[in-house]
Amino acid sequence: MQAAASWGGKRILGLLVFVFIAFIAGGCSSGISDTRKAPGEQLVTVWHWMTDRQAGLEELGKRYTEKTGVKVNFELYAPSDAYTQKVRAAAHGQNLPDIFGILAEKRDFASFIKAGHVADLTSYVDADGGKWRERFFPKALAVNEFLPSNSFGVKAGIYGVPIDVSTIQMVFNKDLLKQIGGNPEKPPVTFDEFLALGPKIKGAGLQGLVSGWAEIWMIDCLANNYAFNIMGKDKVMSTLRGEVPYTDPDWIRVFGLFKKMQDSGILANGIVTMINKTSEQLFANGKAVFAFNGSWGVNVYKNMNPNLNYGVMLPPKASEKYPMAVWGGAGSSFLVSERSKNKEETIKFLEWLTDRDQQAYLSEVTNNLPANKECLTVIPGPLAQFADDMDFTTHPNTWDVSEFPAVTEAFNKGIQRIILGEKTPEQIGREVQEVKERELAKNNKQQ
């Protein structure tokens, strides 16, 4: 009896040791071993965060497998914050998949490249006289490009390809604009025309401009649009380089536009605590006349209210001196891992994915703007209106210099405080400049 118990105890002990060793060995193995890969089969693994595009991408993956025999595995990780953390962790563990995207500023993109995680695609994009390059909207490709003069210390080249693009503009509800006495075919073009609608909107018991300004990057976006319009790109870039202070009268004018909007009543109640999803609901439900939103909103509005009668417009210009600019060109891009074991096959797949037919299909099923400009002729309705303004687009990821995050935060929160009536444009100009000088000093010390 005792011998049997001892034998049982040894078996349990043996089992425990086995489980423990298996656990440790499992923990040491590569993070992306895929059991779905049959021996000899080629597999391309793609990580992304785009919930709305998963079905379309999977369908394209199937088509590619039928065509070439190469299996494509799209792995969706959402929400985007979780995805970002996963990619960073994988980069640190050097087990990134064949294709991945990064949701970050140009500075972080540069860090990925400098750490050797991203393949240089320049020779592929420029092969055959630049056939692949020619497919894309130049600004969409520029997001993935580092110029020889870049301040990030990255070797000049193209490090990713866009699969779709977006622009962030204003949309207006044609029916509501008519209701308050406006012309639904001629939305306001100048800032004064826009402000003049504020009292009429309030009088009609409607909301004016809605946008996700609790997510402060959208404030940054509109403020930069107006900075380009008032002082031009060169002066904005000089500010980023620390050569022009935020106390400059042109910047004070930019800050002042938000005060004017608030004073005129054109901004929706509670816009500073409004997330973009709420703003999309309000606009889709016909409660707000204007929304500042990206081209992704076309799909959202279509799902929320298929009968919504709306148009797309550039933000009303505040100055005649320089053209109005809108953030755009940057959409979703895919990068190839430098450590991919089947890099050539991966790049061939990306080339196929960005071809006209695949891009048209993706645009049709997801209502996103394609990165391939040859598809423009097949884009319907409001999406085409977003695409029309591609010439006005700019994006921080295409600039060769970027602002310090602390300055951007002070800038955006400062505008929130102007809207709340807590600070004046001049006070915010001074506060942002103080942060800028502190960051410049810190940067100089580190160098």
Binding site: L13, I24, K413
Partner: protein, 292 residues
């Protein structure tokens, strides 16, 4: 034979110890180590900056201390309102009242709901976008229209509103722990006090409260830890830091990590925050022990 037996014992606890090491001790050491480095979370190399991050957190980052003050304010509101409410309801449910099991169930619903769901639901209830909010309508229908207000969009009321919703969300935990504590007090003590002529108030003051001090201390510490670390509810209610008015330490740490890609600095903030929490909890513990 004895050595074999000892080895066997150690082997049995080895998996648990390994998991504890991998998921608790090593990450803690790494976080502490990273606090002395400047690292963006991507580069393979990190640059050693000594105590510069600590210096920045402690003396050069006013937004950090503002966030600590905001969290402290939420915590004080929770310690007072949430715990008093939880205690009184627990006392009520400890008596022989009708539907007491129903009340116990209802009071425990808020804590089991997701914080983001509670945030979104309360945002709908006190939503101030188009005057449709339920609370304001109630005030108006009661003839108190002067009380109708943009609760979440006004910097003067946003943090208090967040704190009160946090109390609503959290009082169920305290209620449950208080109720369990009340049920451990021997009934004979109350009977003896009644024989000696003590009324309900005297019994409450001289029996219930002293016997409950250790439980009150426990609930107090849990409230401090939970309230100081609240952030999901804030995201649901006001979408973020609201120009700094609803900023709390966890949101600042996230901003450093994701917004600014300063992982080293975020780790330093985490360490400083951990020390603050330990100090506050220790003071609370010592104070309660003295009272007991």
């Amino acid at each position: 034979m004895k050595i074999k037996s000892v080895l066997e014992n150690y082997l049995f606890i080895l998996p648990a110890v390994t998991i504890f090491l991998i998921f608790y001790i090593i990450p803690f050491i790494w976080v502490f180590q990273l606090g002395f480095y400047d690292w963006n979370g991507i580069d393979l190399s990190k640059s050693f900056v000594g105590v510069a991050n600590f210096k920045e957190v402690l003396v050069q980052d006013p937004s950090w201390w503002q966030s600590v003050l905001n969290a402290g304010y939420i915590t004080i509101i929770a310690l007072i309102f949430q715990n008093i409410l939880a205690f009184l309801l627990a006392v009520a449910c400890d008596r022989e009242i009708r539907l007491k099991n129903f009340y116990r169930l209802v009071f425990f619903i808020p804590p089991v709901l997701s914080e983001i769901v509670v945030g979104m639901a309360w945002k709908f209830i006190i939503n101030d976008i188009d005057g449709a909010n339920i609370v304001n309508r109630m005030f108006i229908s009661m003839g108190l229209s002067q009380w109708a207000h943009n609760w979440l969009s006004d910097p003067k009321t946003a943090l208090t509103t967040v704190a009160l919703v946090h109390c609503w969300k959290g009082f169920g935990w305290g209620f449950l722990i208080f109720l369990a504590g009340l049920q451990t007090i021997p009934k004979e003590l109350y009977e003896a006090a009644r024989v000696d002529g003590a009324n309900a108030w005297h019994s409450f003051k001289h029996i219930t409260i002293p016997m409950m001090v250790p439980v009150i201390a426990l609930v107090g510490i849990l409230t401090i830890l939970g309230s100081m670390q609240a952030f999901v509810l804030i995201m649901g209610l006001v979408g973020g830091e609201f120009a700094g008015h609803t900023s709390v330490p966890v949101l600042r740490i996230l901003a450093s990590m994701q917004g600014s890609s300063r992982f080293g600095y975020a780790c330093t903030q985490g360490i400083v925050f951990g020390v603050i929490l330990m100090m506050v909890s220790f003071i609370q513990y010592r104070f309660s022990k003295k009272r007991a």
